[in-house]
Subunit: 257 residues, 2 copies
DNA sequence: CGTACGTTTGACGTCCTTCAAGTTGGGTGG
DNA sequence: CCACCCAACTTGAAGGACGTCAAACGTACG
């Protein structure tokens, strides 16, 4: 079949649109998450100009560097972290496959560092290509807006958690959220999922010290709610965990998935 | 001159588009903030279907109720607050004239309560009218997306502040941000601005107790940085305050304004 | 003039941090 | 295959930041 965006854009400056990539899994996931139709999805996948494979811990984008287009996480887990002058860190977001990691309408210096937590694959859409896509398909603008809003809704829950919950409830809530999002991304089984974050990472997400994160995890285990060991998270009592966290997954925007 | 959106939409279900409102100040501010051109701005102002005057403390929108269109704050100061089951509160955002208070691409139950802090005026664009506007003027979608992103950037700074700053730095940062935004909205003079928030409100924004908020304000005053009394905020040592807060206003997206 | 609300102050308790010293376990080189 | 190493995890003790409670004080408003 004829790809409309390719024909529409061929002959212009978009040489790489013609080169179909075999790695379109994550982009497809992103497109599906954004509720795009088949045509828009194909156009998005055709706009991918760059795939990068990253090692565990590798930096995807430095804090302060200007964003180059749209970065989509295809495989693996990543996070956005604010690094402060004195070395303290605050994790701002966790990303799973299908997430856009820097979904902004205006290019500006990144307020956080993007980092691969596991080995990961990242796809990029160049600014110029993205601009063309948005002009041809107005619903892609809406899709990106939705992605920004979804991300903001998650961030808002973190804000409430940091401001008004003690570290026990915060830990429980964080685990609920991560499990739910991993599950939606196909990374979780019924009661167990990989959990690549170190206790120090968790602490940086919850705004507590690593020592205290360790103690809270032990408490959750003693209470028979979850067990976290050697990179695997076991949900033992989901109801109890949700209760301890006051967790209501509706803010994640995953209804039906 | 001929208003394109009025002619384009007249005869359809948009009776009220024709009724020009005398109170378009706040909507114009919003349009200016969003960098819309004259035509789009006029269209936006024509889409206003409702103005409400609110008393101090009055609720604009209940938590959990489904949003009805786009609410723009025209006059006064408002906030969004999450109320938890046990009565604790976390303020999620402060709004100044020209801000859209519920800028989301999808109608969903509000995750927070919107409240007028001072006497205020709120304008509303109905969902159907907004949809028509967005279809006619794609750049309005981009503008709303930008507004969502700007709000998210502010929220992100709050997240860092709550997670990794002590209450002294948090208070200083909050004051810097509020002053800067009030100033951009024309509410501040050189070194003094109205500050309608109670200490209890500030505490709910910073995730601390009202008692502790009081002590931190006293400390800032003793350090010769700011003075807050009877609803007025005096900036005494702006450099020192910015330093105590590690404040960099670039995230507010107010460059040049 | 009384009431309601916001602010201020002190005393005391708790949550969480910091420091410092282990322990475990997976990976690497010999 | 073993010794080694490093990162992550664990544990205890002590201190600090912040919360809670309770009471007093100021001030606007009906």
């Amino acid at each position: 079949m004829n790809d409309p965006i390719r024909s529409a854009l061929s002959g212009q400056k978009h040489r790489r649109f013609a080169k179909a990539s075999p790695h379109d899994h994550g982009v497809g996931l992103f497109a599906a998450n954004c509720l795009l139709n088949a045509e828009e999805r194909t156009a998005l996948q055709g706009a991918i100009s760059d795939f990068r494979d990253l090692a565990r811990g590798e930096c995807i984008h430095q804090q302060g560097a200007r964003h180059q287009g749209l970065s989509i996480l295809c495989q693996g887990v990543a996070h956005a972290v604010r690094v402060m002058a004195d070395g303290r860190q605050q994790i701002l977001a966790i990303f799973v496959p299908g997430d856009a990691m820097d979904c902004q309408p205006i290019a500006r210096p990144a307020a956080s560092r993007l980092c691969a937590i596991t080995a990961a694959q990242v796809a990029t859409i160049k600014p110029a290509d993205l601009a063309d896509l948005m002009q041809l398909y107005p619903s892609i603008v809406s899709a990106l807006w939705r992605e920004t809003a979804r991300h903001a809704a998650i961030q808002q829950e973190w804000l409430v958690s940091l401001g008004r919950q003690n570290s026990h409830a915060r830990m429980a809530h964080f685990i609920c959220e991560v499990w739910t999002r991993f599950s939606a991304a196909g990374l979780a089984e019924t009661d167990v999922c990989p959990f690549p974050l170190t206790q120090s990472d968790i602490a940086d997400a919850l705004g507590i010290s690593a020592v205290h994160a360790n103690r809270m995890l032990q408490q959750l285990r003693q209470e028979g709610l979850v067990a976290l060991s050697s990179g695997a998270l076991h949900i033992i009592d989901r109801t109890g965990l949700h209760e301890a966290a006051s967790f209501d997954p509706s803010y994640l925007g995953l209804d039906g998935r």
